[in-house]
């Protein structure tokens, strides 16, 4: 561990996160599709609130992330763990540029590929072959990149015989294998994975783990969000624990995993603490 530490200090970070926060307004979440009528009513009530950018809500906010800072060097596999709703996915979605932070900064010195769901954008009526191109493009691959990797993707997915069949006729296993095979051939410097290993049978999961390890050996960086502590312990050289939107990091991954398991055990004993990360703000509910 010591030699690795000094090695890391010499290197420049590929991802730097500074004081990142994300706040959701509960009102906005609870009623995510307000009608035009609501908008008109609120516009008549306070005609200039739109200019100030105030959102109408019941004054309750959810701090999904609070003042999170860390940096990561090339080649690290970083596990992100925490209970449901702790903010893991929010962090990953900010890194993936899907949602914007409320405040704070992230600098990434490389391309980012995200795999938050297997088979995003797959179209059931298109064939396996067609979906490889479509999904590849959606994940950010260039057409030349897809063509170059096409045979490898097909081989990895083991669906070669059904390449020209519409994917709606695929079994769920074939569907997942094809989807993961495409994602596995992404070549960005930073790869974001959310629970993707939760799918597929044991042998396929082993194959995915091997792929993640080889990605890291190439000097690429992987962020891995999971509830599967065995997979985290196996893959991640570093573990970040998120608890109610705050980030904790200890000396080694095993400690963090133990912390997390403790936390889960406590939560099961005291279910009320599940609500702990909802912060009531001072403003009273609007009439």
């Amino acid at each position: 561990m010591n030699s690795q530490t000094s090695f890391r200090l010499q290197m420049k970070s590929i991802v730097t996160v500074r004081n990142l926060s994300k706040t959701y307004h509960i009102g906005q979440l609870r009623n995510s599709n307000p009608t035009l009528r609501d908008a008109f009513v609120s516009a008549i009530g306070s005609p200039f609130s739109f200019l100030r950018g105030h959102r109408h809500g019941d004054g309750t906010t959810l701090r999904a992330l609070q003042d999170v800072s860390f940096s990561v060097e090339p080649g690290e596999v970083v596990g992100i763990i925490g209970r449901n709703g702790a903010g893991k996915s929010t962090l990953l979605k900010i890194l993936a540029r899907i949602v914007k932070p409320t405040s704070g900064e992230v600098d990434i010195y490389g391309r980012v590929g995200s795999l938050l769901q297997v088979g995003t954008g797959f179209h059931p009526d298109l064939t396996g072959r067609e979906n490889i191109f479509l999904n590849g493009a959606i994940l950010g691959m260039k057409a030349t990149e897809i063509k170059r990797n096409f045979d490898d993707i097909v081989a990895f997915s083991e669906v070669g015989r059904f390449l020209d069949t519409a994917v709606k006729y695929y079994s769920s296993g074939m569907y997942l294998r094809l989807a993961f095979a495409i994602a596995a051939h992404l070549e960005p410097e930073v790869l974001l994975l959310d629970e993707v290993l939760a799918v597929g049978d044991e042998s396929f999961q082993a194959k995915c783990r091997a792929k993640i390890k080889s990605v890291s050996r190439d000097g690429r960086t992987v962020f891995f969000v999971s509830h599967d502590m065995k997979a985290v312990a196996d893959l991640c050289g570093r573990v970040l624990l998120i608890r109610s939107g705050r980030l904790y990091e200890g000396s080694n991954p095993q400690n963090m995993i133990a912390e997390y398991l403790d936390e889960v055990a406590t939560a099961e004993a005291h279910p009320a603490s599940l609500l702990a990360n909802t912060n009531e703000s001072v403003a009273p509910p609007s009439a």
Partner: protein, 304 residues
């Protein structure tokens, strides 16, 4: 390690001043000196990032390709729907307005007159309707992958543009059938098509963005488009409008474009004033919509 060995649990801090970080010269892996991606909290008003859209042009191509491919797989008549829609509308209006109501169309056969108006109208109404719905239809993609969100409504408009190009073949057939001459005025058609595309795109961007937050747009829009058909010179000539109301009529940007379309194909005089008014309104609308879209874009994944 960022954290000291004996502290088992503490808030992680960023390693010393962030500004100096980029100046450390010795690196094992060659990283660019400037970050490729900077993530910041959303700014108020920023223009659409055309470079980002250009960088994702392949995705735009695949989104258009997907929609065309799927359409021709799912439907029995495939490509012919693209032609059938304006043809059927032409037949309906030709019977009710041409034969029964006897709307005058000058020295042009009413069928030709109708088709030359319904062709751009069909493109416009379909483009606005599908692009307005496009972001909601792509909610899954928007919440799982990053890409410039404007590609989605843009792709919807381009799909409809390709429909338009196919359906315009019928116009040429009709012109030959009715023995109309092909004139140099037709050289203006590409510009009119571009103009119409920009108008459809600006409304598509605007409604698509609003639709994510206010789903009533999807209910109101078809009614609005229906009314718009009757407020435009599609099934009747713009000469129907009384002279003292013409200024108001010209404020409908479609009136200049559709009259211009007809003038280019059927050899009438161009109404340059209404075309210019239309162009002005279109450009203002385009700038406005792109800013609104960009402003709302950051929230799409939170709201959709």
């Amino acid at each position: 390690m960022v954290i000291s060995e004996n502290a088992s649990l503490r808030v992680s801090r960023q390693p010393e001043s962030g500004g100096e970080l980029s100046e450390s010269a010795d690196q094992q892996v060659s990283l660019p000196s400037k970050p490729l991606i900077k993530i910041r909290a959303s700014k108020r008003w920023t223009p659409l990032d055309l470079r980002e859209i250009w960088a994702h042009r392949e995705l735009l191509y695949f989104l258009v390709w997907r929609d065309l491919k799927v359409r021709y797989k799912q439907t029995l008549l495939g490509v012919s729907w693209v032609i059938l829609q304006p043809i059927l509308m032409t037949l309906v209006f030709a019977v009710f307005l041409g034969k029964i109501a006897r709307v005058p169309s000058g020295n042009v056969p009413y069928v030709l007159f109708l088709y030359s108006g319904l062709l751009p109208w069909t493109f416009f109404t379909n483009a606005v309707a599908t692009s307005s719905h496009s972001l909601i239809a792509s909610a899954e993609m928007i919440t799982k992958v990053y890409f410039p969100r404007s590609l989605v409504p843009l792709a919807a408009v381009l799909v409809r543009l390709s429909d338009f190009l196919v359906a315009s073949l019928i116009l040429f057939v009709l012109m030959v059938y009715y023995g109309r001459a092909f004139t140099s005025a037709m050289l203006l058609v590409p510009f009119l098509v571009l103009h119409l595309t920009l108008l459809a795109l600006s409304l598509g961007l605007l409604f698509a963005a609003l639709n994510v937050k206010y789903r009533d747009i999807g209910t109101v829009l078809p009614v609005l488009l229906q009314l718009w058909l009757f407020a435009s010179p599609v099934i009747y000539p713009s000469t129907f409008v009384p002279a003292n109301w013409k200024w108001l009529y010209e404020l409908n940007p479609l009136s200049g474009i559709i009259s211009g379309f007809r003038a280019a194909f059927l050899g009438a005089d161009f109404d340059w004033r209404s075309l210019l008014v239309s162009l002005g309104i279109t450009l203002v609308l385009l700038v406005y919509s792109t800013f609104v879209f960009k402003r709302m874009e950051d929230e799409f994944a939170d709201v959709v």
